[in-house]
Symmetry: C2
Subunit: 501 residues, 2 copies
């Protein structure tokens, strides 16, 4: 085949992949925002067919041959094309390594597991979920070998979610987290608590919607390319770099909840909107990994959004949206309230400081489950013990314990660590950013363009052009988790009046 023709085929393949992604994303978005409640069945039929067609696109020996042919002429390819071939080969090989019958069996299992998990969570019945979780663990231990038999199983899984990480990397990371943050959290538990009761006055959804519009404006999110919808569990969905959607959920008794979900999802959106045009409709068009994505969302949410300069600059406007609710509150009170630390049971509701401990607990459990040193039946006991040890909280039941997250029911083992890594990357990005631009001076003026510009240059524009580890290196330098723990220690010691670091 001529090179020109091969390149055309490569581009068409990726456009088709983009089209199927767009279709299934649109159906998903619809289903969790505006679709009528009782419509899952018909959507399921369509999604099943589309998923099958989508899989066939790549799992096709002709595609394998095309990729090999291009790979053989690597030297003649442009950098972006070379990278596309590399990424697609990786996906192709992975698909072909899992035997078709096991893949199908696993798809049926995860589909079923989701239902079982929902029911088990509702009734706080771990025994109901246990046999399914056992099967999921067994499958993942087996799949890990298909993915990469040169690594330990959990390392192979980690590599699927955040390429370049392994247990050695994470043990070191979480070791620092545990060592530096657990004592800090315990010290804060002894300090006088911050009053955040005014966050829980009545905030009508309609006013919160207008406030969200304002926050998106402050973040520089162009509404011609990014809208906001409402859903139960907020998320960001990208169609391409000109069409990204964020979602939120308004709780009328908690103004901070939606506020920070908008800023968090806005951070994800900034990433996707900032990817280069020439990567669109290819396999490189999106953010490179979950960890790097979280580094952006959590950077906006916590490092910027929960900073004193940011809260101070937006607070007068916030008072205009909520004059009755915030008339008697000062910017400083607001700053303290949105940074209140309270060790709690639920990861998704955790504050900036305790968040990584929730992730650490999941990491320790997954590592042992996949490593074969922990049995599924013992998960609740270990979970509850670790929550007591690290966070000092008692888990009353499995609904508020090891049944709270959906990840395992979807077959995702090795996914959690990215959440904490992202936060740590963000702190290092801040440190580098501060060397180059006047971060806090501009934020204090309500102007996030310098911050956004830096992130776009160092991270966003590349989409998936670079490996996750290279993006991290490019934006953070050598990974050093103490930068993150130092950032947290300094911030929260000041807030809670503890003596120094």
């Amino acid at each position: 085949m001529e090179l020109k023709e091969a390149l055309q085929q490569l581009a068409l393949l990726q456009k088709k992949m983009y089209a199927y992604n767009t279709a299934t994303s649109a159906l998903y978005l619809d289903s969790v925002t505006v679709a009528p409640a009782d419509t899952a069945e018909g959507r399921g039929v369509a999604m099943g067919i589309l998923a099958g067609e989508q899989q066939k696109l790549l799992a096709n020996p002709e595609v394998g041959a095309l990729l090999d042919a291009l790979d053989a002429r690597k030297e003649e390819l442009e950098e972006t094309v070379r990278r596309q071939v590399e990424e697609l080969q990786r996906s192709y090989r992975q698909l072909s390594r899992i035997p078709a019958d096991e893949y199908m069996e696993y798809a049926i299992l995860t589909n079923e597991a989701s239902d079982v998990w929902h029911k088990a969570k509702e009734t706080s019945d771990f025994e109901l979920f246990r046999p399914v979780l056992e099967k999921l663990v067994a499958f993942n231990r087996k799949f890990a070998v298909y993915y990469d038999d040169s690594r330990k199983p959990y390392d192979a899984l980690l590599n699927e979610y955040e390429r370049g990480t392994d247990m050695e990397y994470l043990d070191q990371f979480f070791g620092v987290i545990r060592e530096r943050l657990v004592p800090l959290i315990h010290a804060i538990k002894e300090a006088p608590q911050i009053d955040d009761s005014f966050l829980h006055r009545h905030y009508p959804a309609e006013a919160q919607r207008r406030f969200s519009d304002y926050l998106m404006e402050v973040m520089g999110l162009d509404r011609r390319h990014c809208t906001i919808g409402e859903t139960e569990h907020p998320f960001t969905l990208e169609f391409n770099n000109k069409d990204v959607r964020i979602t939120t959920n308004y709780k009328e008794d908690n103004v901070a909840d939606s506020m920070y979900s908008v800023i968090h999802e806005g951070g994800h959106a900034k990433y996707e909107l900032g990817v280069r045009d020439d990567l669109q409709y290819t396999c490189l068009s999106s953010g490179v990994s979950m960890g790097v994505h979280e580094s952006q969302s959590r950077f906006y949410e916590n490092i910027i959004g929960r900073s004193r300069p940011f809260v101070e600059t937006i607070f007068p406007k916030m008072q205009e949206f909520f004059p009755e609710q915030l008339g008697d509150v000062t910017a400083e009170q607001m700053y303290l309230a949105v940074n209140r630390v309270e060790p709690s049971l639920i990861r998704t509701e955790a504050d900036e400081l305790t968040y990584s401990l929730h992730v650490l607990i999941r990491y320790e459990i997954e590592k042992q489950l996949i490593g074969g040193t922990l049995e599924v039946k013992d998960v609740p006991e270990v979970w509850n013990r670790l929550y007591r040890e690290y966070l000092g909280v008692e888990v009353p039941d499995d609904k508020h314990g090891c049944l709270q997250d959906s990840h395992w029911s979807g077959g995702a083992f090795g996914y959690f660590p990215s959440y904490a890594l992202g936060s740590a990357y963000g702190a290092q990005m801040l440190k580098n950013m501060e060397q180059e631009i006047d971060v806090w001076g501009t934020v204090a003026l309500g102007d996030l363009s310098a911050v956004s510009g830096w992130l776009k240059e160092k991270v966003h524009q590349y989409g998936s052009m670079m490996e996750p580890a290279d993006v991290v290196k490019h934006a953070c330098g050598a990974f050093d988790p103490t930068v993150y723990t130092d950032y947290l220690t300094k911030k929260y010691s000041e807030i809670y009046g503890l003596s120094g670091k």
Copy 2:
């Protein structure tokens, strides 16, 4: 091939068609309701790919062979399957009759024509649209021969939109319309006009939204299977009989506009929600034709929605939604206001009585354009003359004249008549319905279940199981346009105090 295997392939083919329809429908729905403004490009790339894949599904010799094989064993097939084969063969043959290069050329032309038409309409510049319209007419004259070379070209096109109709049928229909309704409209122009000024007070969108919810409840639209969205030009979209969406548009200075668009679209939705379960995910799952669909939407909108019993029964509730706006209005005043007749320039804003005249004008022009007796350059002149003659209005410019509708720019010639046919079918359905159930007694109680039940039994349940003409015969008996003109004459003579029929 074994029959069993062939049947499985047939079912799978239709499920795939359903999946692609679902995907493109979801993208379309998103684009006109919640998508950010500047996102057409990326969506276009995805839609183009999906349309290509969708077309390939059917335009495939293997599919042709499968359909032929099943057709050859027709006697062994269940009735629904036989009908599926018949419908798919028709579509297959049509696709294969148009040469691929002409099909492609035409797709490019209609895509371009839409843009040109938008610009021409905006600036009221017919000369800009003329060359494109000439090409569109030429293509359609040629395609008509591909569709059915045994018919006159316009008959072949009519048959595409409303199978079973032709110029003979429509000449007779529109002859009655012209003869009976033109004098009535002229008489009404001389009668004292109805005051509808209170419809144009300020009606906040938020209150109108709640009113829409109420109207959907009255219509018995189950919200677990049917939601309402907002868009510029209201429409109904069906995914399957458990998932239908209606849309509306709120004008704060016109409460009747959205009210009747909700009832109209609700009528379309009732049809789709009423189709039998066993027809889902097949080519028979939807309403059978545009004419029959309009018979349902216009039945709810005009025959029920603009009846005195309906207006009287909902009016007290309407006053609750709009106490300030309607406190000084009576139900009878509301009844008269929503039935105000006013010959006007724009079809989509026309009242129940003058509506068919707008359609008649388009029919006469299309018939001559496709028949070759009218040149495109003369369309504006003929258009304006017919508006003067039938409706007594002067067309000030082509924006308010022959450039107002999008249909021709999309290549749709022969589509318009269905709008008027639907209204006429509805009037005959009413006549039959009145023989069998207490239509007005139940409507007066705000209970539409008897009406809905009749329509479901006679029309909705069948989806596309029967030919349009057979559905009409089943629900209306032999088509007699004077039933429609009698209905209108009686209703509007009474409203405008004219002497009898």
